[in-house]
């Protein structure tokens, strides 16, 4: 079953809408190389059985992904990934950027930084490089 490829984890306390969480999780799975072009996304029924969310929300998230040109709905068959978001830079444990970040994270830990400090640092630097309006 393709449902084994990706499973949505809906965090009800996050404040992020279910619809956004699904969109983000699909994109993340695509970036991390967990979803390839040709893979079928879980059907609304499969998602509902696993997480008790509204199937309309799942379909709405898929429509959004389709609008962005990432997936394609095929009548009667399901929704399929059409594009690849993964690149050499993000795939696998040995991607160079990932190795650099791993090294940085190790130094932060040795330096006695708490997880909150790391998150704050990361967000601050990220926001510097990717201003809010660009991300939205």
């Amino acid at each position: 079953m393709l449902t084994d490829v990706i499973e949505f984890r809906i965090d009800r306390r996050s404040g992020v809408s279910t619809y956004m969480q699904i969109v983000q999780q699909v994109k993340q799975a695509m970036r991390l190389g967990l979803l390839h072009p040709g893979d079928r996304l879980p059907s609304a029924r499969e998602v509902v059985e696993a997480t008790a969310v509204n199937p309309n929300t799942v379909l709405k998230a898929y429509r959004e992904l389709e609008r962005e040109g990432l997936v394609e709905a095929r009548r009667g068959l399901g929704t399929f990934v059409t594009k690849s978001l993964s690149s050499e830079a993000t795939i696998g444990d040995d991607a160079p950027l990932r190795q650099e970040l791993t090294g940085w994270m190790g130094r932060a830990q040795q330096g006695g930084l708490l997880v909150e400090d790391v998150d704050a640092l990361y967000s601050a630097v990220r926001d510097e490089h990717y201003p809010a309006e660009e991300r939205a």
């Binding site: 809408s17 619809y19 609304a44 509902v48 008790a52 929300t57």
Partner: protein, 285 residues
């Protein structure tokens, strides 16, 4: 064709109006959260839609047919107290309810009862846990193959696991058959994640009605200095004020003026704002 429409519906019990001048239309395929505090009129509204209670004024229509003391063949109703024959076994109950219906899918009932842990067919209905009882009641409702499912407090009295399982059964029905669902709760948090449409009732009147995303997009929460409240443009729904700071919930708001911070409200604060406004209107009336 809307599964459910209300036109100026009111219901009076002796001197008290339980529902007053309610008008709305539920679009097909929506999962509607009917929310409001206890005694807001949610149950009365659902019971009127199911043909159990006759409105004092106005008219309710299900699938474009006036509800006239009888439930529409395409509508199923789950009562808050579950109203099942407790002295029968699950098997006997299934047979009894099937006999009361022209259209009945024994397969659908078996499927729903088989979901999750499954229900023991030979257990007396009265001995079932609250969760299993709700599962049986929903199975009976779905055996009618409804296109509109009216659920009165489907999650009350349920522990978190049973709550999740009940929602899963309902959402599976929506995924499988595109059924329109209207479910009531006095706890918004119960329904927040599974509904895409909100119908907020208080004091027997509709306070908010619409697609949740659209409703949220139409509103703004503005925080700023009390002294400069007059510079804010939009329809004020409700406000809380301290000595210096005002927090305003606005409908159709213009962009926030200088010195004010504006955000889109989350559903909880929107509902709280409307309930506060409704309470103030009633206490001043």
């Amino acid at each position: 064709m809307n599964p459910l429409t209300a036109t100026a519906v009111g219901k009076r019990y002796r001197t008290r109006w339980a529902v007053r001048d309610c008008s709305f239309a539920i679009p097909e395929g929506k999962v509607v959260a009917l929310v409001g505090p206890n005694g807001a009129g949610k149950s009365t509204l659902l019971r009127m839609a199911a043909g159990l209670v006759r409105p004092t004024t106005g008219e309710l229509r299900t699938f474009d047919t006036p509800v006239n003391g009888r439930i529409h063949p395409d509508v199923s109703f789950l009562a808050q107290n579950r109203s099942l024959y407790r002295d029968l076994t699950v098997r006997e109950l299934t047979r009894a309810v099937a006999a009361m219906n022209d259209r009945w899918s024994a397969d659908r009932v078996r499927e729903v009862l088989g979901l999750l842990a499954g229900v023991d067919y030979d257990a007396k209905v009265g001995t079932l846990s609250a969760g299993a009882l709700t599962q049986v009641a929903i199975a009976m409702a779905l055996g009618r193959l409804p296109r509109l499912l009216l659920l009165d407090e489907p999650l009350s009295d349920l522990d978190p696991l049973a709550r999740d399982e009940t929602l899963r059964i309902i959402m599976t029905e929506v995924a499988d058959r595109g059924t329109t669902v209207v479910m009531s709760s006095h706890l918004l948090s119960d329904l927040r994640e599974v509904c895409d449409h909100i119908l907020l009732i208080d004091g027997g009147r509709v306070q908010v009605d619409g697609d949740i995303e659209e409703v949220l997009a139409r509103h703004r929460i503005l925080v700023g200095p009390v002294a400069e409240e007059s510079t804010v443009e939009g329809t004020l729904v409700s406000a809380t004020r301290t000595e210096r700071q005002a927090t305003l919930l606005l409908r159709e708001a213009r962009p926030a003026p200088e010195g004010w911070a504006g955000t889109e409200p989350d559903l909880e604060s929107l509902v709280m704002g409307y309930l506060r406004a409704s309470r103030e209107r009633r206490s001043s009336a």
